[in-house]
């Protein structure tokens, strides 16, 4: 069940081609600013629950730095082994210069 939109960070804190992780409502959320778009996904890998925040982002994909699983930032789909399960994706909006995520 999705909750309410919650402020994540100011837009200015997330310049192009950067990302940031924070705990919202007890859930690790990762927001990526890439290719001119903002994406909010789970901050942990579905494979072995490792943090994704240091993963490389290219072409709307994030790579888990620990074992190399890749996920589509738009859909959360797992794209290669060792992950087979998707990561959660969250609704995101910008209000008054704030990035808000519904978790």
């Amino acid at each position: 069940m999705s909750g309410e939109f919650t402020r994540f960070c100011k837009v200015s804190e997330l310049p192009p081609e950067s990302k940031k992780a924070a705990k919202l409502n007890n859930t690790w959320v990762l927001v990526c600013h890439t290719d001119g778009r903002l994406f909010a996904v789970s901050g942990v890998c579905s494979h072995q629950v490792k943090p994704l925040v240091n993963g490389r982002v290219r072409h709307c994909m994030i790579t888990c730095p620990v074992h190399g699983a890749r996920f589509n930032l738009e859909t959360g789909a797992a794209l290669n082994l060792p992950a087979t399960q998707p990561i959660a994706t969250y609704e995101l909006r910008v209000v008054d210069d704030w990035i808000e995520v519904r978790v």
Binding site: H47, Q48, N54, G55, R56, R58, H59, M61, T63, C64, P65, V66, H67, G68, A69, R70, N80, L81, P82
Partner: protein, 470 residues
């Protein structure tokens, strides 16, 4: 003009005959307004015999096994581009058969390639076909991990492994060399250097192209329905253009293309475009050639009107038009690029399995690998390269578009549909060729002395590595 080769050709030395009455490739290029560099204006043909090529190499699984043992383990192979791994910690997994390697940048100017397997119980440290960035290579099974430099970082419960010395338990490496933005690997510690393997003449050509200043703007992968060597050979000659690609033959000097061999591992053809095929002399006008011109990277031309100046040639008009529009569309400077480099098909093969096309309108890299599950199939990739934009911001290399066996190349996003149609025609031939070779009463392939010299040169290298049966 399409007259059969007569007795005068038969009196020449073997391999010396050329299409009668047609200008040579060098004569065509010499007429261009923007002159071609030295690497274009040279010839290096060599007659290498006229015996049939045995066909067991295409049909027998045992032959493919010998190739894995003796050829793939001893040759330099393109594993990835440097642009795939620009930052320290970036890695790219390259597979050939059952072999798998993690190619990684361990320092700004150092790339290494490790066997992609944990030294504990063998699990791959990274899945095949993947890339990313990391600070360590950690096995997902029991957590043994290695630093970027290959030294072991962690071993869970070391008390249980007194027989393992962490200080020396490093990831085994294979050799790596960088050339033209390509990362090459070789499993053989005794192999020649990449420069010696390629040879001085071809090395000089490759260094002039500066392919390190290009980026991959489109990457398409698809299986081809034939043995990898048949797939490669299908792209080594322009002799097939008339029948296989009739839509191209009007604008291609197919029968008077130039073929060259360099040492043991490199060969090439130069196939001029924007000129009428000798097969069609007298049947088409210069405007027809202009109208039918197909480019590998035609996106820059859009729907522009193809007007032929009074008294002009289609070749020169296309060169002038393409030069201006391409520069504008891609924010690049082609001032130092000759007309031939802009238009023509320069096809180089680096043994065993890559083609480099250093031209601008046909700017491809092909890679062919045997499908390890079936020697009758090839894993084929085509990469299109473009100059890095003048503002210096290098785009990320394109992700591969993976087509299914049933899909047409024309469905590949980012690739010119006209080019895709050509690849489809080649694919259709390959199905019939693989099956025909298996069905044939004749156990050898017969090759033309000149137009198919690249195939003979290639198969000679295969023979040298794989050897005879046993």
């Amino acid at each position: 003009m399409n007259k059969p080769i007569g007795t005068e050709a038969q009196n020449l030395a073997r391999g010396a005959a050329r299409y009668p009455g047609a200008p040579s490739t060098q004569e065509i290029i010499a007429s261009d307004r923007v002159k071609a560099p030295g690497w274009v204006c040279s010839e290096s043909y060599e007659f290498l015999g006229d015996e049939d090529i045995s066909t067991d190499r295409y049909t027998e699984a045992a032959y493919a096994e010998r190739e894995f043992e003796r050829l793939w383990t001893r040759t330099w192979q393109f594993a990835c581009r440097e642009e795939h791994i620009p930052e320290v910690g970036d890695y790219h997994v390259y597979d050939i058969g059952r072999h798998s390697f993690i190619v990684t940048r361990v320092a700004a100017n150092e790339v290494r390639a490790y066997y992609n397997a944990c030294l504990h119980r063998g699990t791959k440290l990274r899945a095949s076909g993947t890339e990313g960035n990391t600070t360590e290579f950690k096995c997902s099974f029991h957590g043994w991990s290695w630093n970027l430099d290959g030294s072991q970082k962690e071993l869970l419960c070391p008390w249980d492994f007194p027989h393992v010395d962490i200080a020396t338990n490093k990831l085994p490496q294979v050799r790596v060399e960088l050339l033209g933005g390509f990362v090459f690997i070789n499993m053989d510690p005794d192999a020649p250097t990449l420069a010696d393997y390629i040879g001085p003449a071809a090395m000089a050509h490759i260094r002039e192209w500066k392919l390190e200043d290009r980026y991959i703007y489109c990457h398409v992968a698809k299986r081809l329905p034939a043995n990898w060597k048949l797939s490669i050979a299908a792209f080594m000659e322009a002799y097939h253009v008339l029948d296989t690609h009739p839509q191209v033959s009007v604008t291609n000097a197919d029968a008077n293309s130039q073929y060259d061999v360099y040492g043991e591992h490199v060969n090439r053809f130069i196939s001029p475009l924007g000129v009428l095929s000798p097969h069609h002399y007298g049947k088409y006008t210069e405007q027809d050639i202009m109208d039918q011109f197909t480019l590998g990277d035609s996106s820059a031309l859009g729907d522009a009107t193809r007007t032929l100046p009074e008294g002009g040639t289609a070749r020169q008009a296309m060169a002038d038009m393409f030069r201006g529009m391409f520069e504008k569309a891609t924010n690049t400077d082609l001032g130092g690029v000759s007309d031939a480099e802009l238009l023509d098909c320069f096809s180089y093969t680096l043994f065993p399995n890559i083609f480099l096309f250093p031209g601008i309108s046909l700017p491809m890299v092909y890679r062919f690998r045997p499908d390890p599950r079936d020697h009758r199939w090839t894993l084929y990739e085509v990469l299109f390269l473009r100059p890095v934009p003048l503002d210096g911001k290098r785009p990320y290399p394109a992700e591969p578009v993976r087509l299914t066996d049933e899909q047409s190349f024309t469905e590949a996003e980012g690739m010119d549909p006209g080019f895709g149609a050509i690849l489809d025609q080649d694919t259709d031939n390959l199905i019939l060729q693989q099956e025909g070779i298996e069905a044939s009463a004749k156990r050898g392939l017969t090759l033309g002395n000149y137009q198919e010299i690249r195939i003979r040169h290639f198969e000679r290298a295969v023979d040298r590595y794989v050897g005879t049966k046993g």
